[in-house]
């Protein structure tokens, strides 16, 4: 997966709370293959009316926020459905970092697995950033230092102003290194096999179709095809 270290980019204030994943990508678009790109569906029903005409109702579509790669939102961003397509829509649009006071747990997990940084800030800092970026501007997000720095706004008085954010330390390392979970798991195939054998013996009812063998040897088979 993609790694994330630092990002300097235009940041768009999306001053909404409870931006659920149904809003991030309405369900009707999820039948499509990812290959077609999901960026056009991001926040679709906030951005477009029933006939597909732009509403220009949210800052994302304002010229002063063109090219935004960072979103700033209020509490509980990505709540709701587990649809990873919400992350695909953000990513394909060009957003690689979301700054908010809190995130839906499943969204945050999905984000990291796709290289998108969910940066958690205090409610007060989110409000300050929403205000500072209201007329456009850019931020530098540094995952190594867990810092957000104002690098460009209309007035220079806030340039260099620094904020801190938090992220689970394991997720931080995953993002910094671009680790792939499956590669990591394949180092533990022997322990997985031992666990399975023990569980099948001690609690056989947890295997409802005992006639079905494990295909776990395929995990090892797959290993040869993985990147070294």
């Amino acid at each position: 997966m993609q790694s994330f270290t630092t990002l300097t980019a235009p940041a768009c204030p999306l001053g909404l709370a409870n931006v659920d994943t149904d809003q991030l990508i309405p369900a009707r678009f999820m039948k499509r293959s990812r290959a077609q790109g999901y960026g056009g569906f991001l926040l679709h029903d906030l951005r477009f009316d029933e006939d597909g005409r732009p509403r220009r109702a949210i800052p994302l579509d304002e010229p002063r926020h063109a090219g935004a790669r960072i979103l700033i939102a209020r509490r509980n961003f990505g709540t709701g459905s587990s649809r990873e397509a919400a992350v695909y829509a953000l990513w394909d649009y060009g957003i690689t970092c979301v700054i908010a006071p809190s995130f839906g747990d499943i969204f945050a997990s999905n984000a990291v697995k796709n290289g998108l940084l969910p940066a958690q800030v205090s409610e007060a800092d989110a409000e300050t950033l929403l205000g500072l970026l209201a007329d456009g501007g850019s931020l530098t997000v540094n995952l190594e230092a867990l810092s957000i720095t104002v690098t460009g706004t209309n007035t220079t008085e806030h340039h260099g102003q620094r904020f801190t954010f938090v992220i689970d330390p394991v997720r931080r390392l995953q993002l910094l290194n671009g680790w792939d979970d499956i590669d990591l798991t394949l180092r533990h195939t022997a322990e997985i096999a031992d666990y399975r054998a023990n569980r099948a013996t001690s609690q056989p009812w947890t295997f409802p179709e005992p006639g079905m063998p494990s295909q776990a040897w395929n995990i090892r088979g797959a290993k040869g095809r993985l990147r070294p």
Binding site: K31, I192, P208, S214, Q215, N218, A222
Partner: protein, 470 residues
């Protein structure tokens, strides 16, 4: 392994640990993996690696998210037909059991799992659907995962997780007449907020919880994700065991005796500590409805639509409420009972089990609905049993449409939609903007409350609408 007293969740967690990394990340064994036709992104990832499904015997497919609820077996939408076919193809190729469109036990995944005895106490259960928290009602560790995690489970039957914090909600007393688990769930979410349980594994306890049926516990655990809890659970007891008796995949005979002993030992130790402990008075819970665009926007039916002008201290809150009322087309201060509705929906993994259909039918018996509505049972087996009991005839006589089983109008993926600007009284779980269709206005409530709204054409306190005789 641990001398310290442990909670139910601690025990479930410990039992599934394969290995712990130095950084605390833990590899957990997955006992049940449910996939559906929306899991196509994950199967694509599997194909990209040329990998097989590691444990087809622990993998179960269900066609539910996109399936039509009328006109079966024809699937009119070619895109949907393609998705259902792709799921069938993956099931055949990888050799896992599929509850497909033609299966007599087909239904919504979170109804089918328990119904088939695939959901058992002590299991770790995952599915690419946030409402997987439902299965925790049996004392299982069950949570929703995204497509990358679905692919990981398919390939390895394991998941990396960090242990969440532990939270307990104790509900004292007992729910009143016509007050259901749905009302309790909405009451809890309104009390703690939609992110109130974020980062926590949630356990429900107390007399009001012990008194709940399995259906009620399933509804409560289902809605817990709307309070931010990725998983929620109730310790297994005699209610749990009675519900499981004779289910197709549940243990029986000597294995059942052994399993029961294990299941009883799952209950939290008396001195076990929680990171957060919340008390709720069950006696004080009223029939509850939502007024806004988040499940936390819930109030007793006897209340009024909030007034943003009455919240001068909090500009962000004021803006949020004003925005929600604008979307919902509601006037500040309006009594909730005066809100007129355009249609109703009874269905979803939250409230479409047999008990839910019975509760709605009890209100509708001998009455007419003033608005159109759709009733989609939680599973094809629930549908068949409801028809044996004559519930279908009550719904049809009231003027409602009796449909097949699927996720249907809860998420609108199959084309069962609420039209733009229409107001729907719904037994579902999310009143998000556009959830039931572009511009749809959703009010969440219990099945009995939806039935009452159907009868009067407005949001109604079901306690004022006693069942008719005969």
């Amino acid at each position: 392994m641990n001398a310290a007293p442990r909670t139910l969740f601690d025990k479930l967690w410990d039992e599934h640990v394969i290995t712990v990394r130095e950084d605390g990340e833990t590899l957990l064994w997955v006992d049940r993996h449910f996939v559906h036709e929306g899991s196509h992104h994950a199967f694509r990832k599997l194909d990209e690696r040329g990998a097989a499904v590691a444990e087809p015997g622990l993998t179960f497919g269900v066609a539910d998210h996109y399936v039509p609820t009328r006109g079966r077996p024809v699937i009119a939408d070619p895109e949907v037909a393609g998705m259902v076919e792709r799921l069938s193809g993956n099931a055949a190729r990888h050799g896992f059991r599929l509850f497909g469109l033609d299966d007599p036990a087909q239904g919504i995944v979170h109804v089918v799992g328990p119904e088939q005895g695939l959901t058992l106490p002590g299991l770790l259960i995952v599915c690419g659907d946030s409402h997987t928290s439902t299965h925790g009602a049996f004392g299982a560790y069950a949570f929703g995962i995204g497509a990358s995690e679905v692919a990981h489970v398919l390939m390895t039957q394991t998941l990396w997780q960090r242990k969440p914090k532990r939270m307990r909600i104790s509900v004292s007393g007992r729910l009143g007449p016509h007050v259901s688990a749905k009302d309790l769930a909405l009451h809890v979410i309104a009390s703690i907020g939609t992110n109130g349980a974020q980062g926590h594994a949630l356990e429900y306890a107390g007399t009001a919880i012990s008194a709940l049926s399995m259906e009620g516990r399933l509804t409560l655990c289902n809605m817990s994700i709307e309070a931010g809890a990725r998983c929620a659970m109730v310790a297994p007891d005699e209610t749990t065991f009675a519900w499981l008796a004779g289910r197709p995949h549940a243990p029986s005979g000597a294995a059942l005796a052994e399993a029961r002993a294990r299941w009883l030992a799952l209950a939290g130790d008396p001195d076990a500590e929680f990171d957060r402990d919340i008390l709720i008075d069950g006696n004080a819970v009223a029939p509850t409805v939502t007024w806004g665009t988040s499940p936390e926007d819930a109030l007793p039916i006897t209340g009024s639509v909030p007034d943003p002008e009455a919240m001068p201290a909090d500009a962000a809150r004021r803006a949020y409420v004003a925005g929600a009322l604008d979307y919902m087309g509601l006037a500040p201060g309006m009594p909730l009972e005066e809100v007129a509705i355009d249609r109703i929906f009874i269905g979803s993994c939250t409230n479409a089990r047999l008990e839910d259909l019975r509760a709605a039918a009890a209100v509708l018996r001998g009455r007419k609905a003033l608005v159109p509505g759709l009733v989609s049972p939680g599973s094809s087996l629930v549908k068949r049993q409801a028809e044996v009991e004559g519930l279908d005839r009550i719904f049809i006589a009231a003027g409602l449409t009796w449909a097949d089983s699927g996720c249907s109008m809860c998420v609108g993926m199959n084309g069962d939609l609420v039209a733009s600007g229409e107001r729907c009284a719904s037994t579902t779980n999310r009143n998000f903007r556009g959830r039931q269709g572009l511009g749809a206005r959703t009010h969440l409530m219990s099945p009995a409350m939806v039935a009452a709204a159907a009868v009067t054409g407005r949001l109604t306190d079901v306690r004022d609408l006693p069942p008719l005789e005969g």
